[in-house]
Symmetry: C2
Subunit: 90 residues, 2 copies
């Protein structure tokens, strides 16, 4: 998050997770490490990646459309990823 | 997110971002790639990592304490990271 963002900008948050059944190797490593560290109760872990996109001088509709394009063309792989795109309130 | 989670579990979401002023190399690469792909308006990008921790058979207070321990001991580097820990409503 950026503080003091220009009010004329539109922020969209893209959350990319692995689909159920896809191996989350980082999460598995974290679970093992927390056990080795002696944490009193080791949680089940899942990871996700957030891309916070801040558009300038576009409408919120246009920003949503551009974010969808960015997801399709660069940020996610539909075979393995589940994606959530949501506007971030100013 | 997992659907159909056991109601006796407690979920805590840990969000790890880079502090302002710390180089976000992945975000810079994404901005450049979106420009090269010809996106009509290239956003400023920031990235964050989400760790979704699901504890079993602990109270929500205990889960919060354990999540804080996991952050301190494994998930974040206080020199470069800003961390937000929040409970996820069931």
């Amino acid at each position: 998050m950026r503080s003091g963002a220009d009010p004329s900008t539109v922020r969209i948050e893209v959350r990319v997770e692995l689909k159920p059944g896809i191996m989350d190797a980082e999460a598995a490593s974290i679970e093992r490490a927390l056990g080795l560290l002696g944490l009193a109760s080791v949680p089940r872990v899942a990871t996700a990646r957030i891309y916070d996109l801040e558009f300038s001088a576009v409408t919120s509709e246009e920003a949503g459309r551009l974010a969808d394009q960015a997801v399709e063309r660069l940020l996610a792989n539909p075979v393995i990823h589940r994606v959530t795109v949501r506007p971030v309130p100013a």
